[in-house]
């Protein structure tokens, strides 16, 4: 897999911690591989919206990647509940179903961005950088700043 300049937290230079929510084990593994190639750490995983909420409370990740179509509780509702309780939560929706109504609904409920499956690593990398904003630095920035 393609390697990317590591993304680290600006405040302490530690790896970004992610929560991956998808009912597909395959999709979770695939996303985990990409996030690790960004220098990130998978802090937790969930296979449905209900578990996503409890996992968020347990691991307090820097960023959540959330599928939409899932059993028990869909991703948009889970995102809404997480953001209602933790207004600073950063949730990015990741779904194969990317029609406008779905995207708008997700953004209105508090999601920060949307990535359509199949996920391209370079697209996800840019979305993570965009959503994390000034709270993230790339490894080159870190080493350049350290010189």
């Amino acid at each position: 897999m393609e390697q990317f300049a590591a993304l680290v937290k600006a405040k302490d230079n530690k790896p970004l911690r992610y929560l991956i929510v998808d009912d597909s084990i395959f999709a979770r593994k695939n996303l985990a591989k990409m996030l690790e190639s960004f220098g990130g750490e998978v802090a937790g995983e969930a296979g449905d919206g209900c578990t996503a909420i409890t996992e968020y409370e347990r691991v307090h990740p820097d960023l959540v990647l959330m599928d939409i179509t899932m059993p028990q509780m869909e991703g948009i509702e889970a995102a809404e509940r997480i953001v209602r309780q933790y207004p600073n939560a950063r949730v990015v929706m990741v779904s194969s179903v990317g029609y406008q109504e779905n995207i708008v609904a997700a953004l209105q409920k508090g999601a920060r961005h949307f990535v359509q499956k199949p996920v391209k690593a370079d697209v996800l990398y840019e979305v993570v950088r965009y959503v994390m904003g000034d709270d993230v630095l790339t490894a080159q920035t870190v080493s350049a700043g350290g010189k």
């Binding site: 597909s24 029609y99 391209k120």
Partner: protein, 166 residues
């Protein structure tokens, strides 16, 4: 089944398989089926509800499923591994999700269920309201079959109402 419904699925399968498997794909045999569907190997089913209703099955023989899973997992997988079935389910999810996105943008409104492993030997057959179309996509990892059986819910109702009035 109208081409306006089918084309998004062909485009989506072509794009998703090519991107995921990093190979060229070719649409092979396309046929209408009115007989009961017989599973080829590892299959995933997704149901559609809304303006259009029906189901779609993505199906491959066990060897192809294993090759696809190994390619996407980046290593060896066992044929009995759940990951093989999971991979076909997620592939179905991506193909059908992208097609649904395109159809929604054309004005159709419906939802899809999460993909499920289709374990039954036989699937649903086509009937007078639900025509089943089977398409074969040839990839470097083997053939992937897509069986689509769906119908316009709204339009059929309107047609029936018009027939009663007439």
């Amino acid at each position: 089944m109208k081409m306006e419904l089918i084309q998004p699925f062909i485009n989506s399968a072509d794009a998703v398989l090519a991107q995921s498997l990093q190979c060229e794909t070719r649409v092979g045999d396309v046929s209408m089926e009115d007989e009961i569907y017989r599973r080829k190997g590892v299959a995933a089913i997704i149901e559609i509800n809304g303006d259009i209703e029906g189901r779609i099955i993505l199906d491959t023989d066990p060897g192809t499923a294993m090759h696809i899973a190994a390619h996407l997992a980046g290593g060896e997988v066992d044929s009995s591994d759940d990951l093989v079935r999971e991979t076909i389910c997620e592939l179905a999810n991506m193909v059908i999700g992208n097609a649904i996105t395109s159809l929604n943008d054309q004005g159709f409104r419906f939802k899809i269920s999460p993909p499920q492993v289709h374990a039954a030997e036989h699937g649903l057959s086509g009937n007078e309201e639900t025509e089943a179309l089977v398409m074969c996509f040839e990839t470097a990892k083997g053939s992937v079959f897509m069986n689509i059986a769906m119908h316009y819910k709204r339009r059929r109702k309107e047609e029936r109402a018009a027939a009663v009035v007439g």
